[in-house]
Symmetry: C2
Subunit: 335 residues, 2 copies
DNA sequence: CTGTTAGCGCCTTCAC
DNA sequence: GTGAAGGCGCTAACAG
């Protein structure tokens, strides 16, 4: 069996209480005792049982991060930032995947928040809205990632999807592109991010007096490279191909770039391509990808800070934090 | 406060024991009692406290996965497979990052294995060898990812790095390339993977009677896109550029591809480029990347199965599992 | 400054 | 088939 607090106490001839005080670096321990206890700890190679401590204290110093898919670069880069920042706060991160399915989001949230395993949850939700979340009555704080869509009862951290899309399309219009296709429109109203980005696109078109072309708005639920590849092929089957493509994430855009390369379509000469997220890949692709994305480190910082705040007992109304985003103009959109 | 087992018991008028039996689906509960208890559970919305259960049972159903960096595609794709397979086994995965630093690997391993938090650890080690690990005397099972380098005391799951590198270089030699550069050689003997891959390269050269060129063997500790980019630039400064480049992972290779594109060097016409890992990106890059990699799903399956086996108490000598690998010949190496 | 006591919520050995 | 009691390892009250 593992060495326990009692073993150490017995060895030194003090009470468990005193050993606990030393381990937790509390006051009211005489220097001499402290040294003797520490010696016994080292000698016996004692490690406190974190499970017991958590049960006793009612907190675990573990937080859960729920993302749709860990192998999608945006989420893995986000998880990386979370793990880094969590460490500075003394927190461990438990990562799990929801696949974006609403049922799975609800189930994980329910289990995690109500079984004592974690002190809080950061959820990158797809299916679940802030409003729906309220009905679940989680027993630990939850921070939602993604833009506020109204009526949320929990803190949210996101960026201005509408504004970002608007800026992106404005950039394309400035470069003289008018027939603009979209890859990644949602198939149902549940996909908030998708809808917001689409809204931004339409806003920019309208502001410029350029017609919105529904026939060039392509739907897809999965946002992987292969989806961008497949949908780009569809877009080329029409009589008049688009002059620019706005993909709703970078890997969709990279899939599209690949297909255009295979078809001998020059980017950006014949068609400009843009994405969302600003993943590392988009700085190294051929051509490099114009994209717009939030500061991920800032998302990690803001969401963890908000969560820690709530864990510490901060009450008050739900807040919505918007982190800044930046448009990165690269080769795929400028001649 | 949260609803406890006692609350449910009190509500129904039975002992906690009986409620526990229902929750854990044990025998020896009369159907009538079971129904009544279940009704109370639903009504009170009871969820067992997993912390208390773990403390009592001595097992948590959580395993830790330690990877160097979660934002490196190979590791995020691996983590994805782990999470998927772990779920089928009823396990939750706690992911943490080591940055590949030996001290951090040791520290995390020590804390995780000895504080009751997890039932086992899967470690994708860079700095730590199987031998060194034995000295740490972990109190929960550990499975090491990466090829066995001799004298390990724990189970390992990996693939034949030497054979894979040999096959890759043989492929390049077949295509008539002789001046072969390497990106990713290690700077110290600690980097087992790097050394094994280098060995495979040299084996293939020797078998073909082609001289090994140390001046084209480039060292780097970090294996990111920017490193491949930077080192490829260095390789072009020599009087005679290489005819092929073997990068020790795909992102290094993708960085090299990008630089070659910028310099107007045709791939594979002027220089062939290959990687390791077979990440999704390499199927969509321009050009697509020739690479060799293991079956990641199989790595996840084998390592989790081995870990579960040990957690269940299986003794016996350490085993080394080798999963199959496949050479994927793509555009970057064939004219 | 340190010891004693109690209990976090659960499961499990013993009784009945 | 069910109840009572004990303890996993730790820390928080309360003494002294």
């Amino acid at each position: 069996m593992a060495v326990t607090l009692r073993d150490v106490a017995a060895r030194v001839g003090v009470s468990p209480r005193t050993v606990s005080n030393v381990v937790n670096d509390f006051r009211h321990v005489s220097p001499a005792t402290r040294v003797r206890v520490q010696a016994a700890i080292d000698e016996l190679d004692y490690r406190p049982n974190l499970l017991a401590r958590s049960l006793r204290q009612g907190r675990t110093a573990v937080i859960a991060l729920l993302v749709p898919e860990l192998d999608v670069p945006y989420f893995s880069e986000l998880a990386h930032e979370m793990v880094l920042h969590a460490r500075t706060l003394g927190l461990t991160v438990l990562v799990d995947e929801t696949t974006g399915a609403r049922a799975r989001e609800v189930e994980l949230l329910d289990v995690l928040t109500r079984t004592g395993q974690v002190d809080g949850v950061i959820l990158s939700a797809i299916g679940l809205s802030g409003r729906a979340l309220a009905g679940l009555r989680p027993t630990v704080p939850v921070v939602l990632l993604g833009e506020r869509t109204g009526g949320s009862s929990v803190d949210q951290v996101g960026f201005d999807n509408v504004g970002a899309a608007r800026q992106l399309v404005a950039h394309l219009l400035e470069r003289g592109r008018r027939r603009i296709a979209v890859i990644g429109a949602g198939t149902s109203s549940a996909y908030a991010t998708s809808n917001l980005r689409l809204q931004g696109c339409r806003d920019a078109l309208q502001a410029a007096g350029v017609p919105y072309l529904p026939e060039l708005t392509m739907r897809t639920e999965r946002w992987h490279r292969s989806d961008g590849y497949r949908i780009m092929a569809e877009l080329l089957t029409g009589d008049r191909p688009p002059e620019a493509v706005v993909a709703f994430n970078d890997v969709l855009a990279l899939g599209a770039l690949r297909l255009l390369h295979e078809r001998g379509v020059a980017v950006p000469h014949d068609i400009a391509v843009t994405g969302f997220d600003d993943i590392e890949d988009s700085r190294f692709s051929v051509p490099t990808l114009t994209t717009v994305g939030p500061d991920r480190a800032e998302i990690a910082r803001q969401s963890l800070d908000a969560l820690v705040d709530r864990i510490a007992g901060h009450a008050g109304p739900a807040r919505a934090v918007r982190v800044p985003f930046r448009l990165r103009v690269r080769e795929s959109s400028q001649l």
